[in-house]
């Protein structure tokens, strides 16, 4: 298991880049290598799947617009046997593709054109999640900014003051907070909070998110913690 690069004595994390455009591959290679990642490249989906089995990457960057196989299919096939985080790259305006990939098991997404800092941030988040093997949640605490979420005692405090949340609101917050920095689709959140079969009740989700926002955020129109990804889902701020 790899952690973020730079830790001494730990082998550098392997990134598998599955991207058909050579210039983008080149730019990714340079940036990632420059930040201590080991980069494996594949120009086609089939090659990428093969490389995934041979190199066992720690994180996969997958372009959704591949020439041979649909990125969605690659995601599903990867997920059949690998738990490595997948970050999908998509073009603007293809929200449905992003959501489908996320629902199929991808962990996050980036819209082209993206900036390197953004990419690196997502990578860091992804690796951090992978490191935490869903272990003992009791006693774990999420702390972002002035928000403190104690999963053991089920207490939420903002700048020291306790917030009263309903059960559903709490569940929703926890669902988001367990994956700070990572996007969760509407479907994923609905499934987790309201149970399987409720993935289509996006409106309900929005209503509850709105309530939560009003309770948590100083300015609900400029949220600090509960970020909206239009057309995709929500994200709990990483820091």
């Amino acid at each position: 298991m790899s952690a973020a690069p730079g830790e001494p004595g730990v082998p550098p994390p392997t990134v598998l880049v599955i991207e058909d455009e050579a210039p983008i591959r080149a730019f990714l290679r340079t940036s990632l290598a420059g930040h201590g990642y080991r980069v494996v490249e594949a120009a086609r989906g089939e090659d990428g799947l093969v490389h995934a089995t041979t190199h066992v990457p720690d994180v996969v960057i997958l372009d959704l617009g591949l020439p041979d196989i649909d990125g969605l299919v690659v995601t599903r096939r990867l997920r059949e046997w690998s738990a490595a985080p997948i970050i999908v790259l998509s073009a603007r305006g293809q929200e449905q593709d992003k959501v489908a990939a996320l629902d199929a098991g991808a962990d996050d997404y980036l819209t082209k054109p993206f900036s390197v800092p953004e990419l690196l941030a997502r990578l860091r988040v992804a690796l951090r999640h992978a490191a935490r093997t869903g272990g003992d949640e009791r006693g774990s605490v999420v702390s972002v900014g002035e928000l403190l979420l104690d999963l053991g005692t089920r207490r939420v405090t903002l700048a020291g003051a306790e917030l009263r949340l309903t059960n559903l609101e709490y569940k929703l917050l926890v669902a988001l907070a367990r994956h700070p920095g990572r996007v969760l689709t509407h479907a994923q959140l609905l499934r987790e909070v309201w149970g399987p079969g409720s993935e289509s009740q996006v409106h309900t989700l929005r209503v509850f998110m709105s309530q939560l926002r009003h309770k948590l955020e100083a300015d609900p129109a400029r949220p600090r913690y509960l970020l909206t990804e239009q057309g995709v889902g929500y994200r709990f701020a990483a820091e």
Binding site: R92, P113, T166, E169, R206, D219, T228, Q230
Partner: protein, 913 residues
């Protein structure tokens, strides 16, 4: 003669060239012409064809009757023959030439015997020469045969000479237009020899008639006619050549011939004589008939005869004119003078001389008028009756329906007249008892007669006159109560009374009938006017058609339809106006034929006369655009030229109106395309400029870094990299905008609406813009009670991003940007108003209305000029509006107004709340 005069007339040359061009696409017609059957026309034709075939031409035999002669049959071997079409007619099986097969086969040269032959009923055309016309039009050369007696203009002479009336005639026009005429000549002794040898076969005539025909003097005369006619043709060709080259030397006579046409049997002879005169003088000729009130009461057969005569004249090349008036001679004379006629041809008066002297006759009156116009009187012939009968039979075969009798309720008028006379008698009795003299009593009777004439017509008026005289005699002339007359002076009174009565009767009747005629003309003119007015004020093809159909139904009072070509070219009546009466003709393809050839066909014409309706092409400037179908009945006879003219004029009007409409559509489409083209050009020029600038910077800066990167200091390197990054951003934005604009315009962008709280959209928009607003403090104030909006979050987010970027770009650094939202109630619901306001310089008032135009950029601004246009389009796609304004306190404000439509769905309440 001066050189100038000698130079050929350019107009004439042009006409000649045009005629040549027209003929270029046509096949050539060669006619083998002979004096009588048996001279060897078919034989010569076949010899000629065989020579052509051996020279390599594609020769096919269309229809050749070997007439039982073995030599002719021998010539047929080796030539491809088109099979005959068999037609059943009156229990007999007839063999006919199959035009369609010939057209399909399309040889170079086709042989078709007997050009003047009449086709069996049910054929496409009534006459074989019309079939040949079709072949020539398709570019096929045709060879055919013809006897001199078949020529229309010589028909009566031949009848006179031989005593045999030939029933199958060929219009002279066809003969004159033939490209080649070869005379097949045989001396009379030789022909008689062949007859004796049994080598001549005569079909369709009784043996005795044949014997009559083949007598020596007849044959000599026929041979002379044939020779002379051929010589005429040669002469005409020579003349034409000479005229082309030297117009002055061969100036055609400026004569003009007018032929008087009546319904009499002799009219045919007169017309043909007129034509011969016109040909001899090389002049135009006009066939004129005068419609008098008397003629309005003609029997149907007479009217048909008149119409047939006019048609004959037209077929022989005359211009036909129908005048109306009461005095035939006067009308003709006036018209002749107005048209600069130099010769008048009229039929000899018929009837006994004394009657002529009493009543007068047209020809006598014409001759009496002085004035420089020659009058030619054509004598009647013995066979005129036969001729007329033949014409009428032909007319009947063509399905013409003459006008029916105008039967008035006759008995009633006479009874009424009797009543009037009785009343007059009573009045007179009263006056007589009062002591008035007889002269006054006569006046009373005259009054009665005048009244009867005015109201009941001529017949009752005459009866009333006679009755009045008798009653006057009986009742008031001494000795009273007898028919004896004591004073013979009274006889004069009677005569004068009778005469006055008749005169008044005639006059009133004539006046009344003129009024009827005038009304009839007025009705026709009015129909044309109304049609014209309606059509000119109507737009839209379908509406036009319906209006036209209505007008036509009004005018003709019969079933009418207009067939237009549909998507696959088949003719159909307009939707909403089905025409069941044309269904019966559909299988003949008569409508398609009319459409293709641009000539009328159907009932009353020579082509497909068995149809149930008349089909007239609607010919616009570029050719036929439709077909008008007119179902005829007794009161509508399209044989009469003025009716035919009316039909054709109306058809023309409709065609022009339809064409005008179609052209308007085309013009509209062209305008739209021009507009689209303009937009595309604007886009292209804008885009190419906007692409080139950032690309130039990127390539320049990156090139510089590559080349001299090491030589530069860190600061400069950083600056260049920053500028590359910024320009790349700009490019990205440009591409994004262009894509959005394209999707919006093509209609591909359909908002996917979901109920969302506005704060979410604002929040994500702000986050997205983030870095670009770094120099501008942003404040948000969204009302607490904002309802949810049914919108496409991604699109509205884009709108907000556009507005925010706009604000950042156009305002100085450190000036605040404010986002606010409130709910505004309105009739029938609520609006949510979102405002993005800044404290910059605001928008100049003259620019304010144009701010949302595509490609419009503020002065000194970067960007594509599309952002606001896209934003407005998106907002409007949501049913809302986007406006720009200046704030009172300085700065600009952009106001989005989104209607709240309906209610969000109910949410399952939180059980744990």
């Amino acid at each position: 003669m001066s050189d100038e005069a000698r130079r050929p007339d350019p107009d004439r040359l042009l006409a000649h060239i045009r005629k040549e061009e027209e003929r270029a696409g046509r096949g050539r017609l060669k006619v083998f012409f002979g004096a009588a059957a048996g001279v060897g026309k078919t034989y010569t034709m076949l010899e000629d064809a065989r020579r052509a075939a051996s020279a390599g031409h594609d020769v096919v035999v269309g229809y050749v009757e070997p007439h039982g002669r073995r030599e002719t049959e021998a010539l047929l071997t080796g030539l491809e023959q088109i099979s005959w079409r068999e037609v059943e007619h009156r229990g007999m099986r007839l063999r006919e030439f199959d035009v369609d097969a010939a057209l399909a086969r399309r040889p170079q040269l086709l042989l078709v015997d007997e050009l003047a032959h009449t086709n069996a009923p049910g054929s496409r055309h009534a006459k074989r020469w019309q079939d040949v016309e079709d072949l020539l039009a398709a570019g096929i050369d045709v060879s055919s045969t013809l006897n001199v007696q078949h020529l229309e203009s010589l028909n009566d002479i031949v009848a006179q000479v031989t005593g045999v009336v030939v029933r199958e005639t060929l219009p002279d026009d066809v003969f004159d237009r033939a490209d080649e005429v070869e005379l097949v000549d045989l001396t009379v002794p030789e022909l008689l020899e062949r007859l004796r040898e049994g080598k001549v076969y005569i079909a369709g005539q009784a043996e005795r008639a044949a014997e009559n025909f083949f007598r020596k003097p007849n044959l000599i005369a026929l041979r002379e006619l044939a020779l002379r006619r051929t010589a005429d043709r040669v002469n005409a060709d020579v003349q034409q050549e000479r005229e082309l080259r030297d117009p002055q030397g061969a100036w055609p006579t400026r004569e003009r011939v007018l032929v008087c046409v009546s319904q009499n049997a002799s009219a045919g002879r007169v017309i043909r004589a007129g034509r011969r005169l016109a040909r001899a003088l090389r002049a135009d000729w006009i066939a004129v008939t005068v419609e008098t009130p008397f003629m309005r009461r003609l029997r149907g057969g007479d009217r048909a005869a008149l119409a047939e005569h006019l048609r004959l004249a037209e077929g022989l090349g005359a211009e036909t004119v129908t005048l109306s008036g009461s005095d035939v001679a006067e009308e003709i004379w006036a018209y002749a003078r107005s048209r600069n006629v130099t010769q008048i041809v009229v039929g000899a008066p018929s009837g006994p001389r004394w009657l002529r002297m009493l009543v007068g006759s047209t020809s006598d009156e014409l001759m009496e008028q002085a004035g420089g116009i020659d009058v030619h009187v054509v004598q009647a012939g013995d066979d005129d009756e036969d001729d007329a009968e033949r014409r009428q039979a032909a007319a009947a075969a063509r399905g013409d329906a003459g006008a029916s009798d105008e039967d008035a309720p006759v008995g009633r008028s006479y009874r009424r007249a009797a009543l009037v006379v009785a009343a007059a008698s009573l009045a007179a009795a009263g006056m007589s008892w009062a002591g008035l003299v007889e002269t006054n009593l006569v006046m009373v009777y005259l009054l009665g007669v005048a009244f009867v004439a005015a109201r009941y017509g001529r017949g009752p008026a005459v009866a009333a006159s006679i009755a009045s005289v008798l009653l006057f005699d009986f009742l008031f002339v001494p000795p009273r109560l007898t028919f004896a007359v004591s004073d013979t002076e009274y006889l004069v009174t009677f005569a004068v009374m009778l005469g006055i009565g008749l005169l008044i009767a005639t006059l009133t009747v004539r006046v009344r009938e003129q009024a009827v005629a005038a009304r009839e003309r007025e009705r026709r003119t009015e129909a044309l006017f109304r049609m014209s007015r309606h059509l000119s004020s109507t737009a839209g093809t379908l509406t036009l058609l319906h209006v036209a159909l209505q007008q036509l139904a009004d005018v003709f009072g019969s079933d009418v339809s207009i067939l237009m070509p549909g998507a696959h070219g088949q003719l159909a009546p307009p939707p909403g106006a089905p025409a069941p009466f044309i269904e019966k003709d559909r299988w003949t393809g008569v409508a398609s034929w009319v459409f293709k050839h641009g000539r009328p066909a159907g009932r009353g014409t020579d082509t497909l006369p068995g149809s149930h309706a008349l089909y007239v092409p609607l010919v616009a400037s570029r050719g036929p655009i439709g077909v008008m179908a007119l179902s005829t009945h007794e009161r509508l006879s399209v044989r009469a030229p003025e009716q035919r003219q009316l039909v054709e004029t109306l058809a023309n009007q409709i065609a022009l109106a339809l064409e005008r409409d179609q052209l308007a559509h085309t013009a509209q489409r062209v305008l739209v395309e021009a507009e689209a083209e303009r937009t595309r050009s604007a886009l292209l020029s804008s885009v190419s400029h906007d692409l080139r600038t950032p690309l130039a910077v990127i390539s320049g800066a990156s090139g510089a870094l590559l080349a001299e990167g090491d030589a530069l200091d860190a600061e400069s390197r950083r600056a260049m990299l920053a500028s590359i990054h910024d320009e790349a951003d700009r490019l990205a934005r440009l591409v994004r905008n262009l894509l959005d604009m394209t999707r919006l315009e093509s209609g591909a962008l359909v908002p996917r609406r979901e109920w969302q709280p506005l704060e979410e959209i604002v929040g994500s928009a702000l986050r997205s813009v983030g870095a670009r607003l770094v120099d501008h403090p942003v404040s948000t104030s969204l009302a607490a009670d904002l309802p949810m909006l049914l919108v496409d979050g991604v699109l509205i987010e884009q709108v907000l991003i556009n507005l925010l970027e706009n604000a950042a770009r156009h305002t100085p650094a450190h000036t605040p940007i404010e986002i606010s939202a409130r709910a505004e109630p309105r009739a029938g619901g609520t609006d949510v108003v979102v405002e993005v306001a800044d404290r910059g310089p605001g928008i100049p008032p003259e620019v304010l209305p144009r701010v949302f135009e595509k490609f419009f950029r503020g002065p000194g601004a970067s960007g594509t000029g599309l952002g606001l246009a896209i934003s407005r389009a998106v907002v409007e796609a949501h049913g809302g509006s986007l406006e720009a304004d200046n704030r009172d306190s300085g700065g600009a404000v952009f106001r989005i107004r989104l209607p709240v439509m309906g209610e969000p769905p109910a949410v399952v309440p939180d059980p744990s709340a």
